[in-house]
Amino acid sequence: MATQQQQSIKEPEIKTIPTDNPKPQPSSKLQARNLNFHYGSFQALHDISMNISAHKITAFIGPSGCGKSTFLRTMNRMNEAVRNTKVEGEILLDNQDIHSMDVTDVRRRVGMVFQKSNPFPKSIFDNVAYGLRVNGVRRKLTVEEAVQKSLEHAALWGEVKDKLNKPASALSGGQQQRLCIARALAVEPEVLLLDEPCSALDPIATLKIEELLFQIKSLTTIVIVTHNMQQAARLADYTGFFLLGKLVEFDETRKMFQNPSKKETEDYVTGRFG
């Protein structure tokens, strides 16, 4: 039984119904149905099904190589950039299969922040404005307002508002990652995917990002992959536990950590392995 974790979990006011199956959610934003994924001849994901709820934070946890990042990348079809991959099953965005949509549209609506920050070799302003301009927003005033709004949401505006024309590379690691979040937010994604966004950052920078994720929850839907269980416990409304390419358990975070249904989950969250 998880006892250490109990004390560090913040207590959200959610009534939990102990059950093996995830409760049918009122607003499912993103849905996976029997998703299988292959890298060449290797099957990386086995029959994954889940619902991602709108305006909530969902976390994926599991040991390295369990497929959580792979699964994240299927949700905005990023895996198609790699050769020799095959997807079976469906991913529904607002009940429409993303594989039947134009991939560029999918990626605009489902944004992504990567493990290591990757700002373009442009100014801070141009980095955030890039997505807007490329997607057809040209009016200077609109762009400027959108850039400011995004930087504010990313908790970066105060630090950069006087140096918007400076190159993005001049920022610190944590600032660059917040810049990447602002850049992703600028195109108003309906879902924001984050792949271990804090793994290369120090605890203070990590805290800043976790705080801003809470703030922007209401703007979008957040899915975050993390190797840090405590982070999942702090942030997430729902958590999915992956092991060897399978989704072992998916439930409200509190329940997952306090009263997991599967033994593997319990072993993982109590630190017996991984």
Binding site: M78, T104, R108, N118, V134
Partner: protein
Amino acid sequence: MAGSTYVPSASRPTASSFYKRLRGGDEVAYLLTFACAVAILVIVGLIVVELWTNSQPTVKQFGLGFLWSSRWDPNGGHFGALPFVYGTCVTAFLALLIAVPLGVAAAIFLAEMAPPRLSNILTFLIELLAAVPSVIYGLIGIFVLVPIIRDYLVPVLTRLFGYLPIFSGDFYGVSFLSAGLVLSVMVVPFIISVSREVLLAVPVDQREASLALGTTKWETTWQVVIPNAKTGIIGSIFLALARALGETMAVTMVIGNTPKITPSLLSPGYSIAAVIANEFAEASGNLYVSSLIFLGLVLFGLTIVINALARILVLTTSRRRS
């Protein structure tokens, strides 16, 4: 050995150890290889010295005015570099005008769009183009390209643009235009090869960052990948320029070998490398020979500078990535 410090004999420099190292070949090997390295430095120095001293008669006679004098009259003893500098620059410029857009576009295709195996095969073939000797390009130039230009290209050009000074005058086949076209074929492989390497060196996460914001492949390539590779691509252009400037045989076979300064591309002309190739063996008289050598020195200086610039540009790009 307890209680004593053992110092290996090889580390104590003594006369006997030197002898031993000599016998072991170490000193010999070191000195021999070092001597070769120094010899190379000496050879390069020798090149500069020989070019300079052998140009002196011309320098003394004409001074730096040689460089912008357009009079080349071996019989009368007057020599000026301008027609050749002009021809060299015009043909190189024309070659780049054609080769750069073509080459960069092909490099983009090979680096960004083509599947890796196809890209490698095609690049291999293109690099073979770079291995074709200059005189072979000249052969194809004289017997294939020039007739094609004369029978198909120039009539169209003169009909459409004949009023422009660059397309005025009579066309006999050998011309700035023909030389420029042959040169463009010769430098395109360099641009493709280097640009492709530079594009491939742009990190994957830059591309992913752009794609994840909802851009098309072309938008990512044009707005993110190329700006990242910008300096390297410019470096490849400089490399191609240096190659074009020094190119001798193919140019001398199709340029017409007439020292002339005229805006018309259809006119025969001359380049520095071509005049040296053509006239050096028969040049009589100290001034004639030293003028040709001075031209060689000018060409030498030009290519050194451009190559140095190219190296800096290409190195900056690749070092940033490592």
